[in-house]
Symmetry: D4
Subunit: 220 residues, 8 copies
Amino acid sequence: MDIPAVTLDHDRTRRCGFPEAIFGEGKSLATLRGIIAEQLARGDEVLVTRVCAETAAALCAELPELRHTELARTLRASPQNATRKTVGKVVIVTAGTTDLPVAEEARETLEWMGVATTMVHDVGVAGPHRLPARLAEFAGADAVVVVAGMEGALPSVVGGYLPCPIIGVPTSVGYGANFGGLSALLSMLNSCAANVAVVNIDAGFKAGYMAGLIATRSGR
Amino acid sequence: MDIPAVTLDHDRTRRCGFPEAIFGEGKSLATLRGIIAEQLARGDEVLVTRVCAETAAALCAELPELRHTELARTLRASPQNATRKTVGKVVIVTAGTTDLPVAEEARETLEWMGVATTMVHDVGVAGPHRLPARLAEFAGADAVVVVAGMEGALPSVVGGYLPCPIIGVPTSVGYGANFGGLSALLSMLNSCAANVAVVNIDAGFKAGYMAGLIATRSGR
Amino acid sequence: MDIPAVTLDHDRTRRCGFPEAIFGEGKSLATLRGIIAEQLARGDEVLVTRVCAETAAALCAELPELRHTELARTLRASPQNATRKTVGKVVIVTAGTTDLPVAEEARETLEWMGVATTMVHDVGVAGPHRLPARLAEFAGADAVVVVAGMEGALPSVVGGYLPCPIIGVPTSVGYGANFGGLSALLSMLNSCAANVAVVNIDAGFKAGYMAGLIATRSGR
Amino acid sequence: MDIPAVTLDHDRTRRCGFPEAIFGEGKSLATLRGIIAEQLARGDEVLVTRVCAETAAALCAELPELRHTELARTLRASPQNATRKTVGKVVIVTAGTTDLPVAEEARETLEWMGVATTMVHDVGVAGPHRLPARLAEFAGADAVVVVAGMEGALPSVVGGYLPCPIIGVPTSVGYGANFGGLSALLSMLNSCAANVAVVNIDAGFKAGYMAGLIATRSGR
Amino acid sequence: MDIPAVTLDHDRTRRCGFPEAIFGEGKSLATLRGIIAEQLARGDEVLVTRVCAETAAALCAELPELRHTELARTLRASPQNATRKTVGKVVIVTAGTTDLPVAEEARETLEWMGVATTMVHDVGVAGPHRLPARLAEFAGADAVVVVAGMEGALPSVVGGYLPCPIIGVPTSVGYGANFGGLSALLSMLNSCAANVAVVNIDAGFKAGYMAGLIATRSGR
Amino acid sequence: MDIPAVTLDHDRTRRCGFPEAIFGEGKSLATLRGIIAEQLARGDEVLVTRVCAETAAALCAELPELRHTELARTLRASPQNATRKTVGKVVIVTAGTTDLPVAEEARETLEWMGVATTMVHDVGVAGPHRLPARLAEFAGADAVVVVAGMEGALPSVVGGYLPCPIIGVPTSVGYGANFGGLSALLSMLNSCAANVAVVNIDAGFKAGYMAGLIATRSGR
Amino acid sequence: MDIPAVTLDHDRTRRCGFPEAIFGEGKSLATLRGIIAEQLARGDEVLVTRVCAETAAALCAELPELRHTELARTLRASPQNATRKTVGKVVIVTAGTTDLPVAEEARETLEWMGVATTMVHDVGVAGPHRLPARLAEFAGADAVVVVAGMEGALPSVVGGYLPCPIIGVPTSVGYGANFGGLSALLSMLNSCAANVAVVNIDAGFKAGYMAGLIATRSGR
Amino acid sequence: MDIPAVTLDHDRTRRCGFPEAIFGEGKSLATLRGIIAEQLARGDEVLVTRVCAETAAALCAELPELRHTELARTLRASPQNATRKTVGKVVIVTAGTTDLPVAEEARETLEWMGVATTMVHDVGVAGPHRLPARLAEFAGADAVVVVAGMEGALPSVVGGYLPCPIIGVPTSVGYGANFGGLSALLSMLNSCAANVAVVNIDAGFKAGYMAGLIATRSGR
């Protein structure tokens, strides 16, 4: 199958363990339809991220096996007869309720990878007693994804409590001197906790993928 | 007394409650000597900030009533026969040991204002159990000065535990994407804690002065 | 009552003296309705900030005790039989008429806290005789909130005239090299007046809350 | 005379009314000596700016007609038998004493152009009564140069009091979120006073030259 | 007449030679109507800048003496029986045709001040023979306003050809690394031509006002 | 023919080898119509860039010789009886499918210049085997245009494989810390490959023009 | 043992699996001596990072069990009778030879954690055949640390070839538009490879620590 | 020969037409000595850039065939019996005398490539008659390197006069709002001249190399 101006990375599952996830933003309906069909034909699990509501609806109307998660802006589909057992454990933490869409993108990504997830919501640092009250839910986590906007302080605090790798995702949630997520990004990069690495602003997919790689390796 | 290119604000004590503090950076020895002598002659308490070690030594040699605090880079002197009782309570908190010089500048400022201070050091968020263990020391505080570099998360956490106004001082402590204190500054400005206001990077004097104003008013 | 993805900070009134104010931006109608109902049931004064006009109208239709202030983008409600006397005095100053919405958010916040307010409008530095003409209105102020965009110079001037703490709120009013409020923000952070601290760009709520904390403490 | 890698603008006095001023930074002793000698031979008034102390001393030893002003970092010389009467009036204002070197560079430039100058020092906005007390000294000014670091608010205030053009010079005086003069630069560019234009950070020469052009034209 | 939240600067004409120009952005129809009526009643020339098309149409329908210049986004009106002769000469130069709106705002401002203007359009540096071909039109100019986006090089070149003060106005015209006018702004601030001062990005009013002040003073 | 506020550079074909390309953004329909007509009357090849869909449709309806390429946002027309043979070879490379519009603008520009082009799409560095597999298509290239957003790494890699000049075009494709193309721009400017020069973000026309100049000169 | 202004995190080994590493920059000799002695007394492995040469020499003279690695700027010491077997495998890759110090800091950190390391040096993207030639050395890696300055493109390419998590460390190596490591930082954050997370500029310790956490977990 | 931590790109001359140039900054004396010896042994022309004076002197003392150009900070050496004829023509233009070191690095690079050069110095835009007076020296140029700091306007003007490709090199020459070369860099990227591409700030080598590639291809 030949999709104009697209060079699919057919070798990725063998090389990297997972097929290519499709970045939906800026891709035409025709291009997305072609890539999804090709991946399903090859027996790959499909994940499309950052797909707008209109495009998602149009694709779901054509391909009934697609499932759209509106909050996460994702589309997913499994090839026929696919069965996978779930491995590992990743906890996804949000500082506030407005960080939910990015957290959901991470969760969708981890489910696509076959990794079990636990969600801990709305435990930002301004209510500092909320996180310690829920530490039991982190037991046995292979990695933690922390999603936070504004001052982006939560990954440092989570990192201080836990021994496992933390993936910080700054979000563009906030206003004024937030500068589109810059404040949370710089905070996480300068975290005094040694076990915090960072991905791009609002990059729920990438955070989920990194955490998923760690969890699936731990579970070998 | 006339000091070239200087227009002293003689009216400030009456108008603002405290005499003018002298910003030492970039002022010549002669200028500083003139201002200090004039303030002492008028019966003012003297505070010079950001004075370099050489200038401080030269001034102390001439004016034995001056006391130099090297870590804080301050000079202070009291007019003869001055007696003041101490009022209020301000707690000064540091995230790490490298934040000490800025904290000391705040402490010197508060002592110059006649406000009692308590120091709580090295309780940054990466060791999150350290701050709760010391909350008793904050009892009765009129205001808290929080000094932090790197990700600058500590004011949010302190603000979450306490009911009083918090003055955050970002420091230039850190490296890389710290960008000279920018990351801590943006963090504090974007704090999700409602009781946090911010002063300039490394501005120990200003933080101390703001906290001191609050404490002396509370104590009226 | 359980609201999805929300971890309410029920303990805040005891810990901080005031209940949690609700940041309305990005929260769904259902989430806001749930939180407001829960706060009213617990006997808390309710303040919602940054609520859009549509959401405000919908909530007011359902909960008649809500009062919407359009310019301030706030919703407020009091629990039944609530009576509070007003304490303290905070003056809110604007540089220009386009700074009004942020000033109104500060005023709503202070009223929610039970603090008396005085408004002094349109006294920016380019008409330098306007502020001195109104200094009498500042007599006895516990704190002053100064709201200014463009060059953000007004807090320094107000700070020079008055002995009390000044909370500067930079606004995103302006164009060109204003860069969304950055110029006013940097001005206020670099203020040569010692009694000026700063909150985030357009952060009327935070400025009001800080000033209110100072005023209610002074009035103890 | 031929100076390597230099293309002198011999036509400038006829075209622009004044000879070329020499930017001293980064020019070798030999290059500076060559340019100065050529200008004096042509009967031009000489002004060298931003010359370091060592180079200035070496050039003064060779060319006794040169006068070095250390604070301004300038060198000046007049051709033999030059007589000029002074025209116009420019007032140079500083916010603080550390702004002096830039103000002195402006003054040297104006004297080189034959324009009379008045200095008003240390009248920054944090002592807001200082400027009004000295307004009489501005009477009849053709233009005003305002030199200010930190929050750079002074040009707006001066512009509000006076009818003539104001040239603002932001200085790199300050620390922290001053970012090398950026805060004062943005303030002046966003001034709400209509009669304020701005030159580069620390550009005393350029401010003096602009003001001098206005003053010499007014005096035609 | 009392307009809510507005403190009119009634004294400005006496103090500064011209009445207050009204910044239209963000002001309500009622506020603008009130200010215009008051100014006309006092016998002032009226200039409103940055007024949107809808507001302009509504005001013109009510006040037939208002004239709307759509490209410049200005409104103007003269008090009855006003007669003014035109003085001085200001040349307004644009680099490209997309710089026209800002140039027109400058022209409207100068006409409001009673200063004669000459327009020289589309002579940017990439067609370097265009400007020299039109130098005759600059003869006798008191000041020149240069409006340029993209690399903002034109003020330097104009400044090199002419002896009078140049006011550079960077525009937000461009794309990519233009960053909303930042590239043109920095270019003009760093101009190697000594006779260039700068105003805010897109600030046609301010550039016109500065040039007008110079022209009216020259013509005294 | 006289178009208001436009100074056409009639001499450019003689001076530079190609007529002026027309930047369509911000130009009115009347202005564009006038310029196109004039160029066709003079026998020039016409290229309009960054023209919006509505304007393009309106112009095509009036001037049937215009051809609109929607993806590239260009309009082109040849004078009657024009015949040109194609010279040289430029390869245009994209990192991802969302870089296509900028690549198409470069291709349109090269065709307007009469230069042959080869397109190599979607060979970004995250699938590192894709580029080497297609190196044969670069044989004999005079220059290569590389269009890439996100981390902008592709020009360095292409530059490492090939001996010819590479023109890097950063695109604004991406999100978060991409900051509108800044990350790709800085990457390309800091390329460790010696044969990479850079044009503005999204500047497909400029990259095509530079590569076309190199190719037409090589083919002399 | 009580060290002034230091609150040691004694519980960290139990909580996080490794003792606290000591950030040497800005700590006095006395403070460092105290912390090291206390850690050795408690039986902890010691790692000091960013220690200057003078301080390192002084400490080694007092504590002979300390080993100083000059290029990495680290000090290490093991408690008496410590024996640890090495686990896992982390590959550390550099783009150029000037990235060595940061890579060495990562290597020291991993050795302190007891993780085996492999070094692959000087395989930056401008010599694109160098990395593929050495892919065999990555076999079985649990994680890869990629250290790169300038355009910071190497993590994307490494990430494209390998299935394991990649930790990118931007370095401040470069000049001009590198802006102290900003260009490499933004590149890595915008990497189109899904398996790349990022730490602070020059943060060799943090990259090593994250990779070590992944490797030790994989090896459980 | 094996140099620690160095992976030499032995294949580059065959692949790219020229051997690898050596970036001297941050490389040890031993590393540089090893690379130079290896290149000479292989019969390559040697170019080392950004070498400090001490290292250059030490290497010249050991390897007498090395020639050091202090202003350009380069070292060069030819293998024994090397003879090359010069091809093409590149003109190198500077805006001011302080741009010389970067221009010299470009000239050294072009000589190393065997390309003839012409230097045109000190023709910046503030003396706009200087460049046209020297246009004859550009006749027949294959490419032009334009080196400029401050406002970086010169490439646009040169590009407007000439038909060949222009490589702009922004320099860090300037002060204040120059921000280390940022203003010149943004100017050149936003050049309205279509034939201007840009390299990194102060990147004389890269500009020379790009121009040399164009010149040697034109001369085929």
